[in-house]
């Protein structure tokens, strides 16, 4: 049981870390795109 406990703990740590990295990448990508869209809109409004 101790063996399985340790094993599943490792699996959970790995899965959480990979999910965190993947989720953050997706959020970052969209937030950057969103910012760039806003910047483009601002530039077009100011006539640049």
């Amino acid at each position: 049981m101790i063996f399985f406990g340790a094993f599943y703990a490792v699996v959970i740590v790995l899965a959480t870390s990979v999910t965190y990295a993947a989720a953050r990448s997706i959020v970052d990508m969209f937030s950057t795109d969103h910012n760039s869209e806003e910047n483009t809109e601002e530039r077009s409004r100011s006539g640049q």
Binding site: F7, V10, V13, L14, V18, Y20, A22, R24, S25, M29
Partner: protein
Amino acid sequence: MSSPHDLPKLKRCSQKKFVLWLSFWGLLLLWGVYGALICLFKGLNQTGMNNYFVFGLWICVDLTIIALGAGAFFSGFLFYVLGVNQLKELIGAAVVIGFICYSGAIGMLTVDIGQPLRGYFSFWHANVHSMLTEVIFCITIYLFVLTIEFVPLITENEKIRQIPLLNRLGEHLHGIMVVFALVGTFLSFFHQGSLGGMFGVLYARPFSHRTGVAIWPWTFFLFILSAIASGPALTTLVVWTTQKVTRRSLVSRSTLSKLAKISAVLLVFYLVFKAADTIYWANVTAPGKGFTFASFYRPPYGMWLLFSELYLFGLVPAIILLMPKARDNDFWLVTGCLFTCMGIVINRFSATVQSLAVPVLPFEKFAVYSPTWQEWAVVAAVIGYGVILYSLAYRYLHLFPRESELNEEIEPEIEVEICGQRSLNSVGTPAI
């Protein structure tokens, strides 16, 4: 991992030359795949294994490459956890070498179990009393860890880093790499140990059986020590060979020297414990079971195996690599690292094959194992696969962060006048 913006363009050989290089290793791989398919379709009767030798060449090579692949987890531990920053120069290469070793070992095991479709049995119907269960669980999960560690290297590729999601994924994975390094260390520590423990608990085989502490026989600790001593030696050897084959400086000499020194210091620790273990086993454990030390060593597995493991491929490389002047000399550096790796080959060979060769019943004879060509072919396939993957990684990924910096001074394009025509030639044209 460097920022994608500061990654310089890699200077590599022509596509034609590279394909030619790969084709040789590709043929070796194909030969191995052919041998593996014969074993899978016709069965394990195609191998030299029998009722005496349930472990053969494949397990011997498995144990060896898993030990030699320990350079990945140990370098990762030194760099990410202990902060030995000098190892940044070759941590990428160490990860790739580790990945090749572990994936090669698992590929070989797939053929070895005879019925790969039932491979999941070891997980689904796990025998929790077997050290082999821990080994199979840890090796599989550690291969996942190595794959995760490989991802940031792949996302640094010129084309792949143009895909925003993958580029960011690589950066974020790299940001939490310390977690993977720690998990990798934990997994490696236990499966390297359990591989040794697996032999140490065989109380019906006095050649392998050892006393120990709690549930762990001494071989548990000896296998860990030997793996962390030989892993960095293989990494040093591979990086040095890459430099020679490609004719480029990839890491500073001091880094190679440092890695070799780490290997030598650990090898000394290992040899001290191994010698103590051997003396106790020869004088107390084995006689206690009615065996004499000399009865374990008969031709072809004679006493030369033990002496070459401990002296020629143990003490000699340790002494060589402990001397700073020797480490600075290419010949001695390579000899030291190669001998260290050879020592591990002999150690793992003794643990797997010699253990089974020694008779344990009065009517048994000292058996001899000889692998068939199919078994050698599968080993060749793992070597071919390893070289191909490493070559592809070297060609398309930034394995060595200081490569451009180290080659800056020697590779400026110089103008050479040939037959009255001005052409551009480079001093540091890579061979591969």
